[in-house]
């Protein structure tokens, strides 16, 4: 298969970017999108041209490293990660536009590579139960109904790729933050810090400069893990309860139910 690629080239964060056109020929339809880019890079090396920088690691859809916007859609046409997008998903001869995940909070490092460390800082604000290493209670002493576990897991599977932010017209990170809050706040282990978690994570999210939610739902539609908008409802609820019931003079209250 042959393709024309319009790839975003940007030397570093400060530089203005632009699109550069490339053609690739003889691509195996079973090749993944990233393997197609590998081949392009191998050729560029032979032609003594600078290769296209892009991120990937696991190449099986779980690490969340790959982060291309393909034809205006974060990760591409099939609601799977960029690395799980295959050339058979495109028409032979097609022109494909490739650019980085864009958001003010994700500065471009080079070409298609961005800095998503803002997401780590949101987790730092409260995305943990607080259990430090040491003797812990016997897990079966705290049964978790399978339905609850499943719901928590549906949120916990977030791979932190940031496609939700890239897709959101407001550059919001509500799906990401909501997924973590939902995961931990549903489980008995997450109760001790339940309220604080919602408070601090939302605060950090705002501080990083992510936008606010207008319930467009685009985030969920590009999420390769198909995380549902419900996590945003949950986040809104948890945050409101936590914020409105906290007396600033007192130590943070526990909102366990």
């Amino acid at each position: 298969m042959n393709f024309t690629l319009e790839i975003w080239r940007q030397f570093d964060t400060g530089e203005e970017g632009r699109y550069e056109d490339f053609t690739v020929e003889g691509i195996d339809p079973e090749a993944s999108f990233l393997e197609m880019l590998d081949q392009l890079n191998e050729r560029l090396t032979e032609e003594e041209r600078r290769t296209v920088a892009f991120d990937s690691d696991c190449r099986e859809g779980i690490c969340g490293t790959c982060s291309l916007v393909i034809n205006d859609t974060p990760h591409g046409p099939r609601q799977v990660t960029s690395c799980q997008t295959y050339m058979r998903d495109f028409e032979d001869g097609a022109t494909i536009r490739v650019e980085p995940f864009r958001s003010t909070t994700f500065p471009v490092i080079r070409d298609l590579v961005t800095d998503r460390s803002a997401l780590d800082r949101v987790i730092q604000a409260g995305g943990y139960t607080g259990a430090t290493t040491g003797p812990q209670p016997e897990p079966n002493s705290m049964p978790v109904a399978p339905e609850v576990q499943e719901k928590a897991m549906d949120a916990a599977i977030c791979i932190g790729c940031g496609a939700c932010v890239a897709a959101c017209p407001n550059g919001a990170a509500m799906l990401f933050t909501g997924a973590k809050v939902t995961h931990l706040n549903l489980l008995p282990q997450g109760q001790a810090e339940r309220g604080n978690r919602a408070n601090s994570m939302v605060e950090q999210m705002d501080e990083e400069g992510f936008g606010g939610c207008t319930n467009f739902g685009e985030c969920s539609r590009v999420c390769p893990q198909e995380i549902s908008l419900d996590v945003i409802g949950m986040l809104n609820r948890e945050y409101r309860k936590a914020r409105l019931s906290r007396d600033p003079k007192d130590p943070p209250t526990m909102l366990a139910q």
Binding site: N71, D72, R102, S103, T105, A172, V202, G209, G233, L235
Partner: protein, 244 residues
């Protein structure tokens, strides 16, 4: 509360709560308006009686028209908070997003994309609407204090007023089809099991509101509602009808 307002979620919650108040008011308002459908029933049309009743509400606990003024204050406050909230959020969101991004739409409803436009046009309409039926400033057609039926009848004999109101109702529909669903989500009242229902519910409620309001201008214009008695002696009113 201050911190709550400062956060994106907090602000949005205010928008949703004020939105809910406004929707709630719209429903009451619509039901009130439907009193016109009783026609010019004798000396005092039903809708005029209703307007008067609204003013007397709460008496003697409250002064005459006191309840009305409380409602108005709440509405005004709500509109101010609603608009301040959305405008501030809009600026924030713009900053979070580089301008050049093409942002393909991936299945979001078009109504959700025009909330600001529909909102601003709505605001303009609300101002016009108050100037017409409350303060009676826009007196293109004859207007009299406390004579709601008379005022409505005359206004809606003109095709352009009917058109303006119908367009405004479409705007309300556009704003609320996303808005009502959105407020449920913002307030976190959603749940996976209920979400489909909530979507349909939002659309249905929007339709009810729009159709309910639309009946009044349409029925007047098509002549299905009779002309009122000639105006009685003008009573000086403190304020216009709530319906106005």
């Amino acid at each position: 509360m201050v911190e709550f307002w400062r956060s994106t979620i907090g602000k949005k919650t205010f928008v949703a709560v004020t939105g809910t108040i406004l929707v709630g008011y719209l429903i009451l308002h619509m039901v009130g308006n439907l009193n016109s459908l009783f026609g010019p029933t004798g000396a005092e049309p039903r809708v005029d009686w209703y307007a008067g009743w609204l003013r007397e509400l709460g008496e003697p606990l409250l002064p005459f028209a006191g309840a009305l003024w409380i409602v108005r204050a709440i509405l005004l406050g709500s509109v101010i908070i609603h608009i301040t909230g959305v405008v501030q959020l809009r600026f924030r969101n713009r900053d979070a997003r580089p301008a050049r991004y093409p942002a393909r739409k991936i299945g979001r409803s078009w109504e959700s994309g025009v909330m600001m436009t529909s909102g601003i046009l709505l605001a303009a309409f609300i101002v016009f609407h108050i100037l017409q039926f409350t303060t009676l400033t826009v007196d293109v057609t004859p207007l009299h204090h406390e004579q709601v039926y008379f005022n409505l009848y005359n206004a809606f004999q003109e095709w352009y007023f009917v058109a303006i109101y119908l367009v405004a109702l479409i705007l309300i529909g556009v704003h609320l089809r996303h808005g009502i669903w959105s407020l449920v989500q913002t307030l976190g009242l959603d749940s996976p099991a209920r979400n489909r229902g909530i979507r349909y519910g939002a659309t249905t409620l929007t339709l009810v509101i729009v159709v309910g309001f639309a009946l009044v201008p349409i029925l007047f214009w098509t002549g299905l509602l009779d002309a009122p008695e000639p105006p009685a002696a003008t009573i000086t009113a403190i304020a216009g009808g709530l319906t106005g």
